[in-house]
């Protein structure tokens, strides 16, 4: 009886803290949206500067990593296709396979994983360290809104970088797939590309972009939330860890919901 009671108390406590965290994240997302659409010169130039530096870190500096993963994914997918499908006429399906696997699922998901592991953790640590050093308090006391100065630029940069990196991932994966397809079944580039483009519909592009936007928003919100929640220096590594775990779980759940909603 006591065990059941303890279990219920723990489960209740966990549920309560989960709701609190989600509520906090929704609040932060709302405040960020307000700052994005708020008209005014205040902090505009500073925000642009912050956005550019965040895009450099999150997007440009991650190009090589996303490129390598995209290339390897494209190669692996086509190798699997050529080894498991009958040789005759397999070229006709390369486009469809790449679209289904890369653009629908792997492109947004793998890019999100790279952004979570690389930039999400770094963002949580950056903001957490600022909290510990009272830099965020210093911003507040100067009349500078930390959401406008820190969170909003990080959010915008993360979303823009996520979309660009995912498109780049898709292109590199398709090119990688083509080289393997060429080596295995000697398919001309024109025919290969026409199978890819035939399989690519407006719906695929819209859903893929929507996933990228959602993933970027989630990673930025979760990372900033955990960064801002830091109270002392011991919590900084925990914030990075929580941001990675939280972003990954949220990304997987959202990915599953979108896939079920549109393709099931």
């Amino acid at each position: 009886m006591r065990t059941v009671y303890v279990f219920i108390v723990h489960a209740g406590g966990f549920a309560l803290s989960f709701v609190k965290v989600v509520y906090g994240m929704i609040g932060l997302f709302y405040d960020t949206m307000i700052e994005i659409f708020r008209y005014g010169k205040r902090g505009y130039a500073s925000s642009i500067k912050q956005i550019v530096s965040q895009i450099l870190f999150t997007g440009v500096e991650a190009f090589w990593l996303v490129g390598i993963i995209g290339l390897l994914c494209g190669i692996t997918i086509i190798i699997q296709a050529t080894t498991t499908m009958p040789k005759f006429g397999v070229g006709e399906y390369f486009g469809k396979i790449l679209i289904i696997v890369v653009i629908r699922e792997l492109g947004p998901f793998f890019t999100a994983l790279v952004v979570v592991g690389r930039s999400g953790a770094a963002l949580a640590t950056y903001i957490g360290n600022m909290r510990v050093a009272k830099e965020i308090s210093a911003l507040e006391v100067m009349g500078i809104n930390p959401i406008r100065f820190l969170v909003m630029p990080a959010f915008v940069a993360m979303v823009v970088s996520m979309v660009c990196l995912a498109v780049y991932f898709d292109i590199i994966a398709i090119i990688g797939g083509y080289f393997v397809a060429q080596a295995n079944v000697e398919i001309p580039f024109g025919i290969f590309m026409s199978t890819v483009l035939d399989a690519l519909s407006a719906k695929e592009i819209v859903i893929s972009m929507a996933k990228n936007l959602l993933f970027g928003s989630i990673i930025a919100t979760v990372s900033c939330y955990y960064g801002l929640a830091v109270n002392n220096v011991r919590e900084v590594p925990q914030a990075a860890l929580k941001s990675v775990v939280g972003s990954m779980i949220a990304t997987i759940v959202i990915n599953m919901i979108v896939t079920i909603g549109f393709y099931a």
């Binding site: 205040r42 830099e135 308090s137 911003l139 507040e140 009349g143 500078i144």
Partner: protein
């Protein structure tokens, strides 16, 4: 003439984790006046300053900035009011990935008050005033603690505040820089009518500041009478200690 005080704290009560830090603290500082608060480490001096600028909220009590009850300010009004307040943190709190120049220029750039050319001139002037030379492109981690204090002071003064709160602005710096900072603060107080509230345990600075000294002990503020003769047997020992040292 009846002047509105630049800053007024009224009956502040504050506790952390059940430990009372402030128990009915009240004080007033007008334009051209300054006040130094000393006290044991951990007695709540920094907490008091943070409450004064509304970075922390007291359990009870009121804060007035230039006669306005801060509880009645909207978010926008508070942002506008904060532009007239300068604050120096004990550990400088400069943005670590900004250069010293960008740190000092940040409030001006954010509030879009001036053109970039004017901002450069103003920041240059402010840096000269606090004695910061050849550090424009350096980052906070490349500066000595004295230079960091000076940079934090420059950033606090860049918006021409009417009230300055300084949390141990001369702690851990050399006597020469300490004297320069004290002279600058006295100059700003007398010539530019800046109201200054600072915490400080450095006897040299307390002497240089020529301000009323109050001691925070057990959550209450005690005045130190520098010219008093025999010590009051009812006052806390730390007040007597400061009285004797001065």
């Amino acid at each position: 003439m009846n002047r509105t005080p630049s800053f007024c704290a009224e009956d502040l009560y504050y506790s952390i984790g059940g430990v009372p830090l402030l128990q009915g603290v009240s004080f007033t500082v007008s334009a051209g006046e300054s006040m130094v608060i000393a006290g044991r480490s951990g007695c709540g001096k920094s907490a008091l300053l943070e409450i004064c600028v509304k970075l922390s909220l007291p359990n009870s009590g009121k804060i007035y900035w230039e006669g306005t009850n801060t509880d009645l300010l909207t978010r926008e009004e508070r942002v506008a009011a904060r532009r007239r307040i300068g604050f120096i943190f004990q550990k400088h709190a400069l943005i670590h990935n900004f250069t010293i120049f960008d740190n000092i220029a940040l409030p001006l750039r954010y509030h879009s008050i001036m053109a970039e050319k004017e901002i450069r001139l103003k920041v240059r002037h402010c840096m000269d005033e606090v004695g910061l030379f050849n550090v424009d492109l350096k980052f906070p981690n490349e500066l000595s603690s004295g230079q960091l204090k000076s940079a934090a002071l420059a950033r606090a003064l860049i918006l021409d505040p009417v009230i300055l709160f300084a949390d141990e602005p001369t702690a851990g710096i050399d006597p020469y820089t300490e004297e320069c900072i004290s002279k600058l603060l006295n100059y700003l107080r007398t010539v530019k009518s800046l109201a200054i509230v600072m915490t400080c345990n450095d006897i040299q600075t307390i002497r240089h500041m020529k301000s009323p000294l109050k001691i925070l002990d057990n959550g209450k503020l005690f005045e130190v009478n520098k010219t008093a003769g025999a010590a009051d047997p009812h006052q806390p020992a730390i007040v007597t200690t400061f009285q004797e040292m001065l």
